[in-house]
Symmetry: C2
DNA sequence: GTCGACATGAGGCACGCACCTCAGATAACT
DNA sequence: AGTTATCTGAGGTGCGTGCCTCATGTCGAC
C-alpha cells in the first residue's frame, strides 16, 4: 500500500562511500543556529526572517550577517507546514474548442488533482477568447481575491497587459503561457520561441520539398495573435534565406471558423494551381486533412503543422501531415506551477528545467 | 533576499472564486482523523502506518479500512521532517571521455548541488566502462552501505544484471539510465526507446535524401551496447519499409578509438565510392566533421547523428550535420531522481512526466 | 531623572508526523 | 484460576518553522 513505508535504513555506512566523501552530513543550519551565531534570541531571528517590525536596523544587519556566514537556507517545507500555507493558483484560459486548448485544460485538471497533495489548489478561470476587455475585467477580479498566482493564456492586448500590471501591483505571481505578453510585468513566460518555431517549420518544409521550384500555402487562424505573427515571420525568414526557390503565398485566414476553412481551402487550392506545401500555423488541422484527402492530394502536398493533438497525430499516422512542431503541454503546465510557486516563495528557478523545448514530431517519433 | 517572504495573504476570499467552487478546503485528513475514525489510539495508527509489530491482524484491518474510508494520504514532507530523513542516491557512471557522458556527469553534479536543499545527497560512482565484473563488484558494495537508491548507466551484461537483482533484494531503489537492463529487477528505465530513435534517424535520412538511389554509411562505436544495436535495428527497419532505394552499408566500428575512426573513415569513403548519407550511431562526431570537411564532402553528405553535444551542436551550426536525435540530459537526471525518490517513498510516479521524449534537433531549433 | 516608545528575550503552542516508554487491558496458555 | 504473552492507549519529545504573549531591557526626549 502506497502509504506504508519500510523502517528507515540505518545511517551506519561502512566502506566505499565513507572513504570517498568525508561524510559531511553537516546538518543544515537552522534558525537556532542563526540565533546562536548572531547572539540574539530566536524571536528576533524570526522577526528578521519574516520581515516583521520591532528590530533595530543594526540588529537586522547582525542577523543577516550571521545568516550569510553560516549559509542558512530556509526549509520551505517546514515553514509551509508551520504556517499551514496553501498555494492557490488560477489558470486563465480562453473558451475555445481548439484541440490544443482542450489539451491544456485537460492537463491543468489532471495536475490540479495531484497538486492537492502539495498544498496547492488550482482553479481554471475560463474567459471568452476574443474579448480583451472582459478578460481584463476577470483578471481585475482576481486581484481582489485570495489568489497567490495566475497563469494567463490570452492574446496580447493593452487591456490585458494593464490588468497583468495591476495583478503584479497586488503582489500576485503572474506567468504567461504559450503566447507572451511582453511589456506587462509578468514574472515569467512559459512557452516556446515562436519565431524559432516558424523557422523550424520553414526549414523542414525546405528540406522535405527538396531542390527545385515549389509553391507553399500558409493557413492561419487569425493574424492577430502574436504567436501566429511570429511563426509566419520566422517561416518567411528562413525560406528567404535558404530556399529562395520556394514561393510562399499570402496567408489564408480561417478566423477560427471551421466551416469557413472547409470552404476556403479547396477553392484556394484550385485557384492557385499546383501547391506543393501547406503550412498550418494554427487550428484547422481536422479540416485540412479532410480537404486534402477528398481532393486526392494527401500524398502530393507536404504538410507541416503546429501542436500535437488528436488530429495532427492522426494526420501523421495516416501520412497526410509530414511533421508537427509542438510544445509539450504537460511540461508547460507543470513548469508554470513550479515557476508560480518559486515566485511566491522567492526562490530561484532552474532555468534549464523551465525552458520549454521546441519539439519536432514525425511519424517515427510519435510519443 | 531569497529567504525573506511576504506576510501570508489573508484567506478571506470574497467573490468569484468563492462562488465558482464550493470552497472545499476540506483539510486533508491526518493521523488523528484515522484514530478517531477507526476508534483506536494514535499509537496504534502509527504502528500500522509504519509497519511496526504489536498490532492484532483484526485491528490492522480496522485501521486500514478507516484510512481507505477517509482517504488519508501521508504527508511525506511532514513525515520526512519528523523522521529527519535524508535520501542518498548514487549515480553509477562509466569513466569515458565521450561528450555525452561528460554532459551527464556535469548535469548530475549540478542537480546534486540543488538537491541538498531537499534532504537529498547525490554521489557519482565512476566505473570502468568495459569491465562488467568490476562494475558488478562496485554495485555489490553499494548493497552493503547506507544508500537508498542507485541510478545505473552501464552496458547490459549478466554480471551487472545479477548485481542489480542483488541490490533490489537489499531493498534499494534502482533505475537504469539511457540503456536499459531488461530482466534485471530495476524499478524503472529512464531513457528513450532506442529502436524508435533509430527509426526516426532512418526516416529523416530518407526524407532528407529525397527520391532516387542513395548509399548510406553507418558509423558506430561498438555493436556490443544494447542501445547501438537497437538504433541500427530501427534504422534498417524503416529504410527497408519506406525507402527501398536506399542501400545501407555494413556498420563501421570505431571501437571507442578516435584515432581509429579518423583513419578508418576516409579510407571507407574512398573505397566505397559515392556515399550520400552518413548515420553516426554513437561517439565520434568530432572526427566525422573533420574528415568530411577535409575531403570537401561536408555539404554533399547528409549526416544524422545522436546526442546533442558540443561537437554535434557545432556540426549543426556549420551545416555538416543535418539532424541530431537526442534526449534531454537534464530531464533524464531529474527524472531519475524523482523516480528514485518515489520508489523509496512508495508513491506513484507521473508516467507522462517521466517519459523521456525523443528530440529531433536541426539547426533552426537548436536550444 | 523620569517617562514613554521601542527592542529584545523567554517561552509556549501549533503544524503533521515519527518514535519512544510504560502502564494497563485482553487473550492465550498452563 | 493464575500466569504469561501479546495488544493497546496515553502521553511525551522532537523535526524546523511560524506566530503569539508577556516581561524586561535600552534608548532618547523632556
Amino acid at each position: 500500500m502506497a502509504y506504508l513505508k519500510g523502517a528507515p535504513r540505518s545511517l551506519a555506512a561502512t566502506s566505499l562511500l565513507l572513504t570517498q566523501e568525508r561524510v559531511e552530513t553537516v546538518a543544515r543550519p537552522t534558525v537556532n543556529d542563526i540565533a546562536k551565531e548572531a547572539g540574539v534570541s530566536l524571536a528576533t531571528v524570526d522577526r528578521v526572517l519574516n520581515g516583521r517590525p520591532g528590530v533595530r536596523k543594526k540588529t537586522v544587519e547582525k542577523v543577516n550577517e550571521a545568516i550569510r556566514r553560516i549559509g542558512y537556507v530556509r526549509d520551505i517545507t517546514a515553514a509551509n507546514l508551520a504556517r499551514r500555507r496553501e498555494y492557490h493558483f488560477v489558470f486563465v484560459l480562453p473558451e475555445s474548442d481548439s484541440l490544443f486548448l482542450q489539451s491544456v485544460r485537460d492537463m491543468v485538471n489532471e495536475v490540479a488533482e495531484l497538486s492537492r497533495l502539495d498544498r496547492t489548489r488550482i482553479t481554471i478561470l475560463p474567459v471568452p477568447a476574443h474579448d480583451p476587455h472582459l478578460i481584463a475585467a476577470r483578471l481585475g477580479e482576481l486581484a481582489t481575491v485570495a489568489v497567490d498566482g495566475v497563469a494567463i493564456l490570452a492574446p496580447e492586448t493593452p487591456p490585458v497587459r494593464d490588468a497583468i500590471r495591476h495583478l503584479k501591483e497586488q503582489d500576485r505571481a503572474v506567468v504567461t503561457l504559450v503566447s507572451d505578453q511582453p511589456n506587462s510585468d509578468r514574472d515569467h513566460f512559459v512557452g516556446v520561441d515562436n519565431v524559432m518555431a516558424g523557422r523550424t517549420a520553414g526549414a523542414l518544409m525546405g528540406r522535405f520539398l527538396g531542390p527545385g521550384r515549389h509553391r507553399v500555402m500558409v493557413l492561419v487562424n487569425s493574424m492577430q495573435a502574436r504567436d501566429s505573427l511570429e511563426r509566419r515571420f520566422g517561416f518567411d525568414q528562413v525560406i528567404a534565406e535558404s530556399w529562395p526557390d520556394i514561393e510562399v503565398l499570402p496567408s489564408l485566414e480561417g478566423r477560427d471558423d471551421m466551416d469557413y476553412i472547409s470552404s476556403l481551402l479547396p477553392r484556394a487550392l484550385e485557384q492557385r494551381g499546383a501547391v506543393d506545401g501547406l503550412y498550418v500555423l494554427g487550428a484547422g488541422n481536422r479540416e485540412v486533412s479532410r480537404v486534402l484527402k477528398s481532393l486526392g492530394l494527401s500524398q502530393q502536398v507536404t504538410v507541416i503543422a503546429h501542436e500535437l493533438t488528436e488530429s495532427t497525430r492522426r494526420g501523421l499516422e495516416s501520412g497526410v501531415v509530414d511533421a508537427v512542431i509542438t510544445q509539450n503541454v504537460g511540461h508547460i503546465v507543470r513548469s508554470a506551477i513550479r515557476v508560480l510557486r518559486a515566485t511566491c516563495d522567492g526562490t530561484p528557478i532552474i532555468e534549464a528545467q523551465e525552458k520549454i523545448r521546441l519539439e519536432i514530431v514525425i511519424r517515427e517519433n510519435l510519443p
